[in-house]
Symmetry: C2
Subunit: 161 residues, 2 copies
């Protein structure tokens, strides 16, 4: 089992190869990622947005889902992700929710933008106050919505996540 | 077909009811969302993180995936999402990628935090420079990674998304 930097390069090269293969096979965009624990790949993912008609099917999301399925656990604590490209905001947040310990990435967001994949506008939107964003977010029925949380609190069978 | 504010309240109440039902059924957290187009629900989703062992299976992601599957299109342009709770950063970014036209939400992020679901730390992490975040992100092999984008550019069969 390779360790340290040799392993990091090996897993990143695997992600890059999968990304290139995804394009050549006509399955989707030039993005792939692998989730690793203890030097072993638990799950791999490629971008399948267009192939699967799923706007959330980015490489990192797919790799996280595959690894969590393989482990039978919604937590990937103790795992790292190796992505062919710097994660977009959706995938970065998914890495936090999955409790990954580190992100290794090869291409940068600037490289992706140079190839026509620009997620800077989402980054920029996040930095704005809610009412200044291009995607309107309207709050209604706040009081009524507490009923769902009240049911959760009363259920007392919470699994923290 | 109800329109305007009546419809907004109806779809939000549907999301709140689904969120409460998700807890009562023991399927997961108190969150649900519906995606709507032209006054009709195209897809519904509840939080299935623990039930599906999928850290990305938040209500909004599940609703977006269901609606995109129903439409047979990765773009949900012309649709709106109604969520029982203010979207977390992952789901907010997913709404942008899905090209949704508006987000209606009932409970606020502060309400969710009060019930034990705190995503403020992810918001806060996004605002930090990469090297100041608690989740390390390491860039390696940037040059090699261009090969995947080069393959994409040469393929000339790009579907923009």
């Amino acid at each position: 089992m390779p360790t340290g930097q040799d392993a990091n390069l090996r897993f990143l090269r695997r992600a890059i190869a999968l990304a290139t293969e995804n394009v050549r096979a006509g399955h989707g965009g030039p993005f792939a990622a692998v989730v690793v624990r203890d030097g072993r790949i638990l799950g791999e993912g490629v971008n399948t947005v267009t192939a699967a008609n799923d706007p959330t099917a980015h490489a990192e999301v797919n790799a996280i889902r595959a690894a969590a399925t393989a482990l039978g656990d919604f937590s990937l604590a103790g795992c790292e992700i190796y992505s062919s490209c710097e994660p977009c905001p959706m995938c970065l947040a998914a890495c936090y929710w999955a409790r990954l310990g580190a992100i290794y990435f090869a291409a940068t967001a600037a490289d992706a933008a140079h190839a026509g994949f620009d997620d800077d506008y989402i980054h920029d939107e996040f930095a704005k106050p809610v009412d200044a964003r291009s995607l309107p977010a309207i709050n209604l029925l706040r009081e009524e919505a507490w009923a769902s949380f009240q049911a959760w609190i009363e259920a007392g069978k919470k699994i923290p996540y």
